[in-house]
């Protein structure tokens, strides 16, 4: 998570020259340098200890199931047979649904707040959005159970089945029994949870785009929208992507709200209306009562898998940012 957070910071080129060096010494910068270095090293140490603990404690499960752990579809504590496939699937699907909903919504809101709304309105609304980000996830879960689930079961679900469900290919996503709980519901609740992150961070980034950029675009005859979409947004692209990956990290690891609305049945099904389960949700559900050693070890290995997924997705995010930066946008 920390990796995505750093991507949104704008690098300030260090001031060079002998005068700068002298000032550094006088201001006690060497000490500050040392302290920050220790703290930064602490983060790395913490992360490696986390991985080490997960690795060591998942020993039993890794030894017994090996790579098959990733492909086995069964989760059977009674016969000591464990596999991560349905949980990996559920984690990826719910996060993808969440981003598919939250990114357009969040980006549009951020553009409105930074470019179109009067500054005072924008500040008040952003304050409220920041508050949303602080709401505990169990509250979102309750909202999900009492509002989203019934609406999904009685209105949205049947509507999707009767319309999109009949379309070839895409239709497979919206078929089968509709319980109100499932991948789509979990994705929607996650989207509601992560959208404040996208709005808040993207707005800040858009606000840092120099006014000259907008003025130059307008001077060249661009309309307000053209200057926003073709100049301001591309300039802020790196930061916006950072906000999206911050949202993704939250969606991948969300526990409580997902458990409450996903149906908790480890299934791999094409239909988004089907109940499922995610890695974070099954760990939260079953860790306390896990009695067998292999059972516990498998749950810990699931934690390791989640770490791996987050690691890979963050890596991909970095690559994506590097390649798009090279492609243009903000001048170096």
């Amino acid at each position: 998570m920390s990796a995505t957070a750093t991507t949104i910071v704008n690098e300030v080129p260090p001031q060079a020259g002998p005068r700068a060096f002298l000032r550094r010494l006088r201001g006690g910068d060497e000490i500050a340098h040392l302290i920050t270095l220790i703290f930064a090293a602490g983060i790395i140490l913490l992360t490696s200890m986390l991985v080490y603990e997960l690795w060591v404690n998942s020993h039993l499960s890794r030894a017994k199931f090996g790579w098959m752990f990733f492909f086995t579809k069964v989760w059977d504590p009674n016969f000591d047979n464990f596999g991560a496939a349905p949980f990996i699937y559920g984690t990826l699907v719910t996060s993808a649904v969440a981003l598919a909903i939250a990114v357009p919504l969040g980006l549009a809101s951020a553009i409105f707040l930074s470019e179109l709304a009067p500054r005072k309105v924008s500040d008040v609304i952003s304050f409220l959005i920041d508050l949303l980000a602080a709401v505990p996830s169990v509250i979102y879960g309750l909202l999900g159970i009492f509002i989203v689930v019934p609406v999904m079961r009685t209105t949205i679900g049947p509507a999707l089945i009767n319309t999109v469900g009949n379309v070839p290919y895409i239709g497979a996503l919206f078929r089968g029994p509709n319980y109100g709980v499932g991948f789509l519901t979990a994705g929607i609740v996650l989207a509601i949870m992560v959208v404040p992150f996208i709005i808040s961070v993207s707005r800040e980034v858009l606000l840092t785009v120099p006014r000259e950029q907008r003025e130059a675009a307008m001077a060249l005859g661009a309309t307000r929208w053209e200057s926003t979409w073709k100049v301001v947004v591309p300039w802020a692209r790196t930061g916006i992507m950072g906000s999206v990956f911050l949202a993704l990290a939250r969606a991948l690891g969300e526990t409580m709200a997902v458990t409450m609305v996903i149906g908790n049945a480890p299934t791999i099904a094409a239909s988004l209306l089907s109940p499922g389960d995610t890695i974070a949700s099954i760990i939260a559900s079953q860790f306390t009562e896990a009695t067998g050693d292999l059972y516990l070890s498998s749950l810990i290995e699931l934690g390791l898998v989640l770490f791996l997924i987050t690691f890979i997705l963050n890596g991909l995010a970095r690559i994506l940012i590097v390649t798009t930066e090279r492609g243009g946008g903000r001048p170096a």
């Binding site: 069964v74 989760w75 059977d76 504590p77 009674n78 016969f79 159970i145 689930v149 019934p150 079961r153 029994p177 319980y179 109100g180 709980v181 458990t259 409450m260 149906g263 908790n264 049945a265 109940p275 389960d277 949700s281 939260a284 559900s285 079953q286 306390t288 009562e289 896990a290 009695t291 516990l296």
Partner: protein, 340 residues
């Protein structure tokens, strides 16, 4: 600044030492969540009567309680299911089981137009949870409910998603009444690989799903159903009668089976004989090491157990737990002397 900190911490350390020397005995315990309300009541009342004994109980779940006991980080544990032979053999010391209260699990459902209590045969419950009975108007359900207009609707099965003592009791019962269940799903456990259904977290999660989903069925603790006025069905017992769960019926179930309870109290009492017993109930246990080195702790635990079996039982029904049968109390009282 640093000096004052040092003084404060020294003072704190000294006062803690003084307290310890004053004879306060602090017992740490951890385990089952199901009996947590009655345990915290007991520990509180007992502490008021014996101010020098303080029992600190963490309701982290039966699995966690067993693990902490085995690791020696707590003085005693608590579990909704008895420890298996394998777990006992892993322990470095001998562990005794002491039943404390009884709990029961009831089926709850949401069927539009059905207001009365439904009767569930043992086969019907097993079939529904195996996924072999899928419609509400299935003959196995209909034959026990003549006069009820059962809809031709798919049954939505709801179970617990979190590991739980409630699931342990429920699967123990299903395994006893259905060979197929035993073969496909296995022994009683706090989590199993469910053949069908949706999972809800906690009693409240299952209740929420059942209430919201038309044609759903779920299982919840009797206490939870009673306290929240949730209607529930009758279940057929071994004698063939349909019984509605209540606190007395649960104690009756344990009494009926009292003779068959082994010396170590590790027993399942689901589906016992007897015409009036409610068949889906179970003990919950305290797990106590047989040998306790610290004399103060040992005497405190023994005294608490005696108190729990006499005075303590009076608090049960106020919190909707069933009392232990007299025979069991008598045998447990004898077993206390095993702690050395």
């Amino acid at each position: 600044m640093r000096k004052s900190l040092l003084i404060v911490s020294l003072a704190l350390g000294l006062s803690a030492l003084a307290l310890a020397q004053g004879g306060t005995i602090l017992l740490n315990a951890a385990g089952a969540t199901f009996p947590y309300p009655i345990y915290s009541k007991w520990f509180d009342v007992y502490h008021n009567a014996h101010p020098n004994v303080q029992i600190n109980y963490q309701s982290i779940g039966s699995g966690g309680g067993i693990r902490q006991l085995l690791a020696g980080t707590v003085d005693f544990g608590a579990s909704d299911g008895p420890m298996s032979d394998e777990q006992l053999s892993q322990a470095k010391f001998k562990i005794l089981h002491f039943p404390t209260v009884l709990g029961a699990v009831v089926p709850t459902y949401n069927l539009a137009g059905v207001s009365g209590e439904l009767n569930f045969t043992q086969k019907a419950l097993a079939g529904i949870y195996l996924g072999t009975i899928t419609k509400w108007n299935d003959p196995e359900i209909a034959k026990a409910n003549s006069g009820v207009n059962l809809p031709n609707a798919d049954i939505v099965v709801v179970h617990r998603s979190d590991g739980s003592g409630t699931t342990y009791i429920w699967t123990d019962f299903l395994g006893k009444v259905s060979e197929e269940w035993k073969k496909k799903v296995g022994n009683a456990a706090t989590s199993v690989n469910w053949p069908v259904g949706l999972g809800g977290k906690g009693n409240e999660g299952v209740t929420g799903l059942v209430k919201q989903t038309p044609n759903a069925i779920g299982y919840i603790e009797l206490i939870y159903a009673v306290q929240n006025n949730i209607p529930y069905g009758k279940v057929q017992n071994a004698a063939g009668n349909f019984v509605k769960a209540d606190l007395a019926g649960v104690t009756a179930a344990a009494t009926a089976d009292a003779k068959n309870i082994p010396a170590d109290f590790r027993v399942s009492i689901t589906n016992p004989p007897g015409p009036k017993v409610y068949p889906i109930s179970s003990f919950t246990w305290l797990l106590i090491p047989e040998q306790i080195q610290d004399v103060g702790k040992r005497e405190a635990i023994k005294d608490f157990l005696k108190w729990m079996l006499t005075e303590g039982q009076k608090y049960n029904e106020g919190l909707s737990y069933s009392q232990l049968p007299k025979d069991v109390i008598a045998r447990e009282t004898q077993a206390i002397s095993l702690i050395k």
